[in-house]
Amino acid sequence: MSQYNSGRRNPFLNQYSYILSNKQKNRNNQYEQYEQNQNEQQPGSPYAPSLPPAPTDPMRDRMPPAVQSIQQFGTASTPNVSESNIYCLNIIGQIEGHIILPPQNKTTKYEHIIPQLIAAEQNSKIEGVLITLNTVGGDVEAGLAIAEMIASLSKPTVTLVLGGGHSIGVPIAVASHISVIAETATMTIHPIRLTGLVIGVPQTFEYLDKMQERVVRFVTSHSRISDDTFKQLMFKTGELTRDIGTTVIGTDAVRMGLIDEVGGVSAALYHLNQLIEAKRAIDEQTKPKQEGNNGANATNGSGNQQQQGNNGGEQSQASCSNQHGQEQGMNQQQAQGQPPHIQNQPHNQGQGNNNQSQGQQQMHNQYESQQYAGKQNDSRSNSSSQSEGGM
């Protein structure tokens, strides 16, 4: 993780510019080739390579269809490249829960996000989820629900805070495996309150306190920030004019342990890809173990078949990602001397497919202990994985 220097002082910048200049050269060559092909081809030939437009185009009619459609209809259909293994989820504006907010609010709705996250977890082609965050806060219940959903995904997740991740955006920002914040992005931490209302009865105060405690507990258990520090930030006076609380900016958020790293898109994607690699390696490592459990010196292929048989038709995420496993990563892990499995908790108890569920749990534990060793306060991981089993 630490070998990557994020932020604006990118050591790879020189290499990048070299690659880019080469790319430009290639593109020009491709252009000449494309023009040649066009001249050679008969009209209506099925072969039509789609290339970006030349800087100065003498012949408009020879443009690739995508460019023509931009010129004619003013829309660009998304390029039909090979499907990405990363799913990107945007959370912007207010987080909307039980009440539909008036139309001047830009909102991210809870009921839109949840099924997408479930679909992303279940989809065998998606190997990682990138969550970009620019939110002013919103409904406590909806926000915490989204945060819990992100935290309980088995696939690697990275959050990228751009602009702002305020109030209920804070638990969402820390819910992922690795959180990245833009250097200029801010996060406001303040108490939950009912603006403009005098709290009449002690019970109301206690209720608010309880709601607040949920947020504090989630944030402290999913990031490196301590309970005391977070509460200090939350109840600080003199920083915000209308309220008590603190605004932390990019680097401060990292220094306080709230966020893992300052960076941008490249840092976020770098970490996500690294996590995906690690997960593939772990999936690969669990494969021979399962064959051992089944008591057969079977080849990989038949091992997979057996697994799928155990699932009873249910499309399992573990068996899918096993197929992408990489030998290289497995060797790395063995070289690091990690014990084969760190914890073994009863997961999915009472269900028939014991082999499968144990294997998954092992993978999960190993993966977490290796990747998130930085998050020291992860005291809640045990209880959360138990509650997953109850779902």
Partner: protein, 76 residues
């Protein structure tokens, strides 16, 4: 309960007069919650019931997608 840096009065401004007109419709076997935005177009509010979980990742059923009214078959 709102936990936001925006004051409640800003967020809830116009809440009294605002009444979204949502209705459910079927399209290709999926149940959609839609809102009529113009006589010609419906906007998908959300996919209520998909045929498979992957429908929730299908761009055709993403919230905010506009459907021309003439394409709609309500009796499906």
């Amino acid at each position: 309960m709102l936990y936001s840096i925006l004051p409640m009065e800003v967020v809830l401004e116009g809440n009294d007069t605002f009444s979204p007109m949502h209705m459910e419709m079927k399209r290709n076997g999926r149940t959609l919650l839609v809102e009529q935005v113009s006589p010609q177009e419906m906007r998908i509010e959300r996919l209520v019931l998909g045929m498979s979980i992957d429908d929730y990742l299908d761009p055709a059923y993403q919230p905010g997608t506009l459907i021309p009214v003439f394409e709609i078959n309500q009796n499906e």
